[in-house]
Symmetry: C2
Subunit: 269 residues, 2 copies
Amino acid sequence: MMTGTLYVIGVGPGDPELLTLKAARILRDIPCICVPKGRQEGSSLALSIVEKTIDIKDKEIIEAHFPMRKTRGQRTEHREQNTATSTHPSPCKGEGKGGGNSLYSDNCELDTKWNETVEIVLSMLTRGIDMAFITIGDPAIYSTFFYLYDRLLELNPDLNIEIIPGVSSINAAASRAGISLGLADEKIAVIPATYADNLKEILEGFDTIVLMKVHRVFDKILKTLEEMNLLNNSIYISRAGMKDERIFKDLRDMKEEDLNYFSMVIIRK
Amino acid sequence: MMTGTLYVIGVGPGDPELLTLKAARILRDIPCICVPKGRQEGSSLALSIVEKTIDIKDKEIIEAHFPMRKTRGQRTEHREQNTATSTHPSPCKGEGKGGGNSLYSDNCELDTKWNETVEIVLSMLTRGIDMAFITIGDPAIYSTFFYLYDRLLELNPDLNIEIIPGVSSINAAASRAGISLGLADEKIAVIPATYADNLKEILEGFDTIVLMKVHRVFDKILKTLEEMNLLNNSIYISRAGMKDERIFKDLRDMKEEDLNYFSMVIIRK
């Protein structure tokens, strides 16, 4: 029996018109849409973008759960070592033992749900059902989808998985701010701000620096940019292209409540 | 009188279905399309992508010329210094003097054409005509459009210019290669290979490195990746998503004739 195809679709940064023609065509035809379930609002956002253009009422919607961060770390390690080691989430040792601390139980519950997600997707594909996995922005830019991708191909290397690129929130933010990310020979760095241990060095070595997820470490970033005399080169953008988009050309004007999960700072020298 | 709007449209990496719904709508409605004229095939490619989806036979097509690299350099310098200095291309001193060396004459001709482009676009917008400027991939990623953007806003800061982001060739390449550019806390660097003086340092400091325009310095890149034991982490992709796409998972398999202007190497550690 023919297996189904999993279409991994970047639905763009938020504006429903930034869906590609290809994404719209596949989403119109597909009977089943898989939506990442996260603690952040990203999951519901992806579906809400699609809903504004595509009638989804007759489609099956499946919520995909993902492994804990800890497990992700292990996965990354496996990738780096280029080994074929199994990347099963760690077994839920606490199960059936009645108790344990709550963090441990949480991990366990998440891992169980992650395994369920893998099984559901695999079972539908092997029954010949085409599915779409939707993700905001572009799949290659910080989408959790690749955890599922690796796991599925590990279990069945012959699966048909087609990735449809989308407009990334980084490109959308640059458009809305009216700035180029790179011209001619310029170098671009994209870094999640929360782990920018060598931020100064990167700010020195690159022409454009895109700091993602700045909301949690904003004060620290502001201080660094001030010290390096780069505040006049910095723009804060959150929810680019959405109705509640915010752009600050002077980061000093910002208040705590202006910070948002879907935010970035672009430094353009 | 109302001025027209200049829509700057990223038409995606090559596959006509990767146009966004917004790009397709604007391009259907617009009476005039401005296409960058370059020495590379990128200009005709942008129009050929549009033509496959949109009927352009009744539209006015304008070829946009750009200043010499020399002038671009000056521009970049101005931007860096954050001055309000005029960024006029250098005047054609050779004009009317009958002669000069041929390189000088070429520069002059290009600068004249660049000035003509600026005048034509400005004149159409001020006469209330809406225009689209199309560019392959995403406008913020190495598109020459931003030279025109700066110049137009300098001449008339009140112009309506709306930038519509597109799917970048970088995201398309990652999709086609089946790799993520970044997960969780990973750092991404995008650098034009021709000026990668500190390539080794960047290869060490980042999780994913995208080398653009690799065709001219491919041997040097291959040698560096070999020395750093990164060949197993490297993929060559040219013309991602187009009919003549090429993907090499082992760079050592490549021959001179496989190299292409629309190419990149992605190193994923």
